[in-house]
Symmetry: C2
Subunit: 343 residues, 2 copies
């Protein structure tokens, strides 16, 4: 795409700004009046014509105002948005909220979803953080009744997994806790495969338990991205583009089928590990997202635990505000996760 003049960029930016606010095609006259541009509507029309030919704007019908195309939004986000950021006051407020809730991953995830939904006025998505590879830290066996035993497995990073198991025979409590200690010593810091490899070293009981531990750990590996929490669905309904049900239904189904979401998040986030990723209109890859945009970011500490968060909304989204919010919350979550997990 060839270069746009300064004025064309201004016009594009203003049209997008106006359209995001009003959700209605914006015409040349309204534009120059509303923003006191120093040009006449005719000049604006000429520029708009150029932008339309460049594929950045589009007319819903012959005699209506202009609406940004997906390409137009992309140009805007890539070239014109700059490094927006939340006002300091809002940042402090959000940060304060995070430090006020109980220090618990689950709570942070909820709060993050709530904050994102509120600031973006769209639907938000936040996965719980997960370690890339579960590493053994501590095992505890707690006898309950008869041959039922509760297996509590602590992973490096503080994640706790539990699992019931029924032993072949009754085993005294003392023997259980001894076995747990022995296994803990042998497996400290090992991953699922390595734990499984240790199993021969133990007695029948130890082998049974070790295999189960390895099993639980590999299951933890399998769900590499955590559960997806969401918030702000109701915001989507306020958007005029979702008044007819079809588009809305698709988005809703999206949010409920976490498998699809995980796939999108994983794919969209793999290339850019650092910053915020903006997916506008599905980018051709996701038919189901063609009426939506997503603003996504990873958070957490690579090596310890990472998660993803983002916002799902209409293509006509307040990208500036949303990107700032996503970036800031991702940073905040990273700090919190590092604090909690790094030890």
């Amino acid at each position: 795409m060839s270069e746009l003049t300064q004025r064309q960029e201004t016009v594009l930016a203003l049209i997008i700004h106006e359209y995001i606010e009003t959700a209605e095609p914006v015409g040349s006259k309204a534009l120059v009046e509303r923003y006191s541009l120093g040009i006449s509507s005719a000049t604006a029309r000429n520029e708009m014509g150029t932008l339309t030919e460049a594929g950045l704007l589009r007319q819903p019908h012959t005699s209506a105002g202009r609406v940004p195309t997906e390409e137009g939004y992309r140009y805007f986000v890539r070239r014109l948005l700059g490094e927006t950021d939340l006002p300091e006051a809002e940042k402090r407020l959000i940060s304060h909220q995070f430090h006020q809730v109980r220090p618990d991953v689950e709570q942070w995830v909820r709060l993050a979803a709530s904050v994102l939904a509120h600031h973006s006025r769209s639907a938000s998505l936040v996965t719980t953080p997960r370690s890339p590879r579960a590493l053994f830290k501590h095992l505890e066996l707690i006898s309950t009744q008869g041959r039922q035993v509760l297996l509590v497995l602590v992973l490096q990073g503080g994640e706790v997994r539990q699992q019931m198991l029924t032993l072949a025979s009754n085993v005294p409590e003392l023997q259980l806790s001894e076995a747990a200690h022995e296994i803990t010593r042998a497996c400290l810091g090992k991953d699922a495969a390595a734990v499984a490899a240790q199993s021969q070293r133990f007695s029948t009981l130890g082998q049974e338990i070790t295999r189960l531990v390895a099993d639980v750990m590999s299951r933890a590996d399998a769900v590499s991205s955590g559960e997806v929490h969401h918030d702000g669905l109701a915001n989507m309904l306020n958007q005029p583009e979702f008044t007819d049900s079809e588009a809305l239904r698709q988005s809703l189904r999206l949010l409920e089928e976490s498998s699809f979401l995980e796939e999108v998040m994983a794919k969209a986030l793999s290339p850019s590990v650092g910053g915020v990723q903006v997916v506008i209109g599905g980018e051709g890859a996701w038919e189901e997202l063609k009426d939506c945009s997503m603003v996504l970011a990873r958070y957490g500490a690579p090596g310890y635990a990472t998660g993803a968060l983002g916002v799902l909304g209409p293509i006509r989204m307040a990208y500036g505000r949303t990107i700032s919010a996503v970036r800031y919350v991702a940073g905040l979550m990273s700090d919190l996760v590092v604090d909690a997990y790094a030890s």
Copy 2:
């Protein structure tokens, strides 16, 4: 309300049945033709007039067919529905599904939500099961790095709670595990208050930890109903009564604000502990639910752990099918929870 004749009940039932299917006012002629009633449309009209006077039917406008009133639905559910039940084949299928997933409470909750949403073609709600009063079972202290310690608390029933804490000074691992054993011995089977009362018996370290344990336990008590999972939101959108956004938005907000949901579930379920509860149109008590119906049930084993599940849909809901599904899934979940927790 005075008694209805046999024929009036038939007419009411058929109108409700027809309206549930088509979502459109049903007229006398269509009714007698569709169901080959042995009466003429004029007779049907007379009966419909009586039912309208009795407050069980209503006309959207002077010259339209009849639509059931909330009172009409209530009569139908209370007197005419009988003991419907899912077909054996479907029961077996559902049961099979439950036994196929990983034996894990979280998985069962998800599956229950999915099954309910599918069978009711509406939105479903399932809380995770919770013990009515958290009772201490086992404490484990795992040192991580420096003065950071991971506190793992196992409650009676197998629920596991974890919490980070930072000690005032560095404490060797051995001393930690000894303290944990000591506290475990002293607090076995006690509730939050009793645990707090024990705290004086211990050294400074023990006191600090015991108080934290009591704190964690009382927090567990506070959330007497678990987290609410939901599924099948997309089903709601298919319903014609939710095409305009207002009613839908309300229901959505309901599902997202779990606080409100918990209140509704708690209230609606407190009187009838045994069976399935049907709330039609909010029953006057909940303004927010006035366009919706809920079919709710408790599950679990009183004394061990209980939860609630149910379906939220339009008032024009397939009550027979939904009630059967809710009842069956609640029973299934009860069995599973008892199996898992009873030990």
